[in-house]
Amino acid sequence: MADALPERSPGPLRSAVSDILADFRIAARQRAFWTYQAYQKVRLQYARSLIGPLWLTATMALQLVALTYLFSGLFGADMSVIAPWVTVGVIAWTFFSSSLNESSSILLVNKPYIMESETSITGFVIRVLMKNLIVAAHHLVLLVILIVWFRLWPNAEWLWLLASLPVYVITTASLALILAILTPRFRDLGPLTENILMVGFFLTPVLWRPQSLVRNEFIATFNPLTHLLAIVRQPLLGHAPQTLSWVIALWACGLSLLTALLLLATLRRRIAFWI
């Protein structure tokens, strides 16, 4: 009869798969909570403000106008080329870097939740991703305006997005999960992530275009983030992504997903001891 009780002992380790599924199951059971929290985080940040979350759109609009003028001047390129390039780049990068930065502290910030029941690590990461998708949606309004303004009507290449957006989001989610799991144990990862993302912003063609490099082209070519960004950006600008970009982006996605799941399976039950 005692065997009917769920095991919670080190004994023979339950298989990694069942541990991962347990984490997913708890996340699924609390799905209404993660959605609610994601919305609430955005809403509370602008509590009592007159235009509320529209500040997200306004702030981004201001930045994009300034950056477009600057980079159009720097590279002597046409506004109709630079504006969409910068816009897609900054929106996609903001989603990526905010997700990673927030994930590295998400478990430490939510310590009381973790200390009251068996919680889902994946759930917290999904919450971070959802919040940043909501923010991105506020930014995407600007892209729509741009498309109408410069008459960048969708063409067949946009279909690539059906594959590239999931790859982009899954890679971000996997890296976020890795950071969420490891940062409570290795506290230096928080500031380290912040620094790498800051440097990464300059070394990745977010604002500038790879063809503008007059030397040290490897900065763009050997940077996996270049390719991850390219598979999302190229279709939106009406081009098919290069095969090289696809290969590298898919490798990055697969590797980070595998690492994240391995860490989740092996370390999930240790996290409460670290925070």
Partner: protein
């Protein structure tokens, strides 16, 4: 049916903080209050054994009080039962839906309204939005907040926060109820109502485990007790026997 089976469970914490070496001398001798137990060794690194071969078996109808000085392992034991800590050695198995009241105030932010807090805490516990909406009136009346439920928490008094947190925490009827020193601020009138509510939920739950320094409160609704000291169960048995023995030596702590 609710059950908790703990067999010779240990929970060890690794010490990561710099200067952990100095803890060793501290751990070697008994400390007043028993904050740090002793460093076990698992190869490399230093550990603190927060639970030391604890065995415990609880079934329906058991209402257990955990008593002991600060640092005795009461909270660690509760968290292990809740599924937060996996035992380093031994096992801990539970059967039944677990409800915890450990830190009922967390999740409160000044800018959110009382209603936001109810939703956020309720959804985390797995309640549906509609269930919470249906219970909003009860929460308003139990907490005595009335229309304040739509005001930001920043405008609440400390007592109002307690009432709200308590109303939300007691919204659910678990099979296993785990309580950790829940009473803080709040006026005496509310305390009476709050403790009645706890007793009510506890009587419907299969198992209640209650850690407290407030022995009179434990006496009012528990029927078993364990006395923890430095991670070990020093004494276990029926409520009166254990509490009497504990009272004898408590002055020494």
């Amino acid at each position: 049916m609710a059950r908790i089976e703990i067999e010779s469970a240990c929970v060890d914490f690794r010490l990561y903080a710099p200067g952990e070496k100095s803890l060793r001398s501290l751990a070697a001798r008994p400390v007043v209050g028993g904050n740090i137990f002793r460093a076990g060794s698992h190869g490399r690194g230093r550990f603190v054994r927060a639970l030391d071969h604890v065995s415990l078996s609880l079934k329906d109808g058991d209402r257990l009080a955990i008593v002991g000085p600060n640092g005795a392992g009461k909270t660690t034991l509760l968290r292990m039962m809740a599924g937060v800590y996996q035992p380093t050695q031994g096992r801990c198995r539970t059967e039944g839906r677990i409800g915890t009241m450990f830190d009922i105030y967390h999740g409160m932010e000044d800018d959110m309204t009382g209603r936001d807090f109810v939703m956020s805490r309720g959804l985390f516990r797995g309640a549906s939005q509609s269930l919470l909406a249906d219970n909003m009136d009860e929460i308003r009346s139990f907490s005595g907040l009335g229309d304040f439920v739509d005001q930001p928490l920043g405008t609440y008094s400390a007592g109002m926060r307690v009432r709200l947190a308590f109303a939300v925490a007691t919204l659910f009827q678990p099979d296993i109820l785990l309580l950790d020193e829940i009473f803080g601020a709040g006026d005496m009138d509310f305390f009476d109502r709050a403790s009645r509510r706890i007793v009510e939920i506890s009587s419907k739950a299969g198992i209640t485990v209650f850690s407290t320094h407030w022995l009179e409160l434990a006496e009012s609704f528990c029927n078993r007790a364990i006395w923890m000291d430095r991670g070990q169960v020093k004494m276990a048995g029926d409520l009166d026997t254990v509490l009497d023995a504990y009272r004898q030596v408590r002055t020494q702590y």
